[in-house]
Symmetry: C2
Subunit: 420 residues, 2 copies
């Protein structure tokens, strides 16, 4: 009883995940597609510690978010430390630190783990991994296009068809202009940061919860309504407005590259972070049972100025492991698990382990991944062990094989044997 | 002035590292050799969060180490959380959680980041990465041998020659026996945990600081000395003592596998953690200017019993990124930096970016990594940008090339041109 009480729990910390080899294989598959596709566009990998000075997040996210939604603690040197909740401040910090040596433009990617302090629920854990892709030092619609194309290519590389996802595009610059127009028209609805944020937040919930939108929009101003915004929006969709002309050019460029599942969703997507300054986009699952936003990004041209020195234009996106995994499962796109071990060497007695190791060494020199039996299990159980792990082939080292030096590999799926 | 005061620092948190692409390439090279070699022996990758319940470390490391040498904080749910300082408790936890489903033996590896709260100094940072390799469910000298062979193969895969490193081997079981023999002979030097630990700690410093050893050993007991221990050690090197016979068998097995740079260093290496129960080993750099311990490991058969249920034999090692990087630099083994981008597409005007993207898409479809110029830089500067990054080839998309559809790739190192 007292011994039982002292037993340590085998549970991980609340809200984080253990990755057993079969889970890790899925993570590595996702990370592999991310890396391969980002590198095919010339993006270079960077990295940083999960620990960052807390002040890095205070500047743009505000005191409240840092204190309530992040893991922030004080170290024994009295420094306030945060487990990074997102990667963009880190990459802006790093680019600012070496802007001169690095030589713009920069194409950078990373796959950091990120922490959020929140109640764990389906798809909302406290730690997740995220592909971060950023292009620094280029501010043309072509640069915006490259980022959206790369996001789309990642979906394709995962095996998604055009009909499986939609790319919705808007512009923070255009939304800012829309807000100015609205505010100019409504007495008492001034062009303040708070009013703008409140309006953007409501636009963000409109598609998900139209009732809430209708209920709350009039609280911002009695004359405000969906119709009112739609009229203002319509008037601002003109090529004289540069932010709109840029979006039209972007959509045309994407079309020329064969990317047709794009839609302008001007007042529909706003993105959460207030550091966006230009094009914003979000990719949605089109599965009727689950029309979720999968991931998104946009242009943020001012973030590096927080660190002093000149402003560096930047555009990028972040793509979380959990929405991707969910998407791949929903659409049946996760590849079947496959062992990375090519062959398991079975032994009929412990005296033959040395011979088995010798054979394994030869096979490894040929580039094969080889495990060797170290147990006293029966041959049948050794084979069952390999089969359970998905190891495709076995070879048995018995007295006879050891004597003649002739070994046969057996394919477990078919039973076919071939000399090794 | 007031603006300057508000500027954020571009420095990372104290004692952790930023990985700019050139640094990340080195990390990825090291991680790549680790993965490839571990997988060639049939090891499967697992992972876990850097956050663990603090109690996981209290059981074996003790309150003092957890409080003073780890990052431990209390979350808002009043849970004590630690940033993992080592991976072995985590892997023992995970294996214990699913011992039934997993099916022993298990060959597992991981490359976690680990945190220690200490003053940063050369080679001793607050965050480092470590390859962790463990074999669960096999307790023969052959299993010990597999782990040492794998450690040695990793060194070889890094390009190290036999003469570049030595593998020193001992046994915690044998050292325990030695301690019992010593204690039985010395009145007042009882076989307590504290006395044993004190003696092991002194043996650990003997080679590095013989004066300190001589000064402090007599404080444990007036009759204790290097000579006294040597006599007792000699007497215990007999095949009747199983822990010694096992070591002899291990060294013979390693010799048969062609691993000759092994030495029995019975009273010389003890390993820091108190969870070892059998064979222990440590690999040393033989560079005369720097005879450091690079990494090590050993057998720990009792750790899973902390979680209840039956004991699972285990043997493994941990190999840090910094000692490896240092070793590779010292011995000139770090490969020359190489871009992962194969070709940069230059453009003579922004109107040609669409053509350049078209060409890039074709080349990517052939498996090449391709970046496209998005700047208005002159061709010479575009090429210089590619060269600075080590991108080996460029192709220029000009009016003429766009019209004819004929492109030439230029190798920057030689100036040689070839049709693409």
């Amino acid at each position: 009883m007292s011994e039982k009480a002292k037993k340590l729990s085998t549970e991980p910390y609340k809200g984080v995940r253990d990755f057993f080899p079969e889970d890790m294989a899925v993570q590595n598959y996702i990370f592999g597609v991310w890396r391969k596709t980002a590198e095919s566009f010339g993006y270079e990998e960077y990295g940083a510690s999960v620990l960052e000075p807390a002040e890095l997040y205070r500047a743009k996210s505000g005191e409240e978010i840092v204190n309530e939604q992040t893991y922030t603690f004080t170290d024994r040197g009295d420094r306030e430390v945060t487990l990074r909740p997102e990667m963009t401040p880190t990459v802006a910090r790093m680019v600012s630190a070496k802007r001169r040596e690095l030589g713009l433009p920069l194409r950078w990617y990373s796959i950091p783990n990120l922490f959020r302090y929140e109640q764990p629920q389906r798809g909302r854990v406290r730690e997740h991994w995220q592909l971060n892709v950023d292009l620094f030092g280029a501010d043309s619609p072509e640069a915006d296009a490259e980022i959206v194309i790369l996001a789309s290519r990642i979906m394709e590389t995962f095996g998604a068809k055009d009909s499986d996802f939609t790319i919705k595009i808007s512009s923070r610059a255009w939304l800012d202009k829309l807000f100015d127009d609205i505010s100019a028209d409504l007495e008492g609805f001034d062009a303040t940061f708070d009013n703008k944020n409140a309006l953007l937040k409501l636009l963000d919930v409109k598609a998900k919860d139209p009732d809430r939108f209708d209920r709350e929009i009039v609280k911002l101003h009695p004359k405000l309504s969906g119709d009112f915004i739609a009229r203002k929006s319509k008037a601002l969709q003109t090529s004289e407005e540069k932010s709109y002309a840029d979006l039209e050019k972007l959509v045309a460029t994407l079309g020329n590259m064969g990317i047709k599942n794009v839609e302008l969703a001007l007042t529909e997507i706003v993105r959460g972070f207030d550091y966006y300054t230009g094009m914003i986009f979000e990719i949605f699952d089109t599965d009727p049972s689950n029309r979720r936003s999968l991931f998104g990004g946009g242009r943020y041209d001012d973030l590096t100025s927080l660190f002093g020195g000149e402003r560096i234009p930047a555009v990028g996106f972040g793509m979380g492991d959990l929405p991707v995994k969910n998407f791949l499962e929903t659409h049946g796109l996760l590849p079947a698990p496959k062992s990375r071990t090519d062959i398991h060497v079975c032994t009929t007695s412990s005296e033959l382990v040395a011979k088995a190791e010798e054979l394994a060494t030869k096979l490894r020199a040929k580039g094969m991944n080889v495990s060797v039996n170290l147990t006293s299990k029966k041959i049948g159980d050794q084979i069952a062990w390999a089969d359970k792990r998905g190891i495709p082939k076995v070879v048995v080292v018995g007295e006879e094989e050891a004597k003649t030096g002739k070994y046969k590999a057996k394919e477990l799926a078919t039973g076919a044997e071939a000399p090794l």
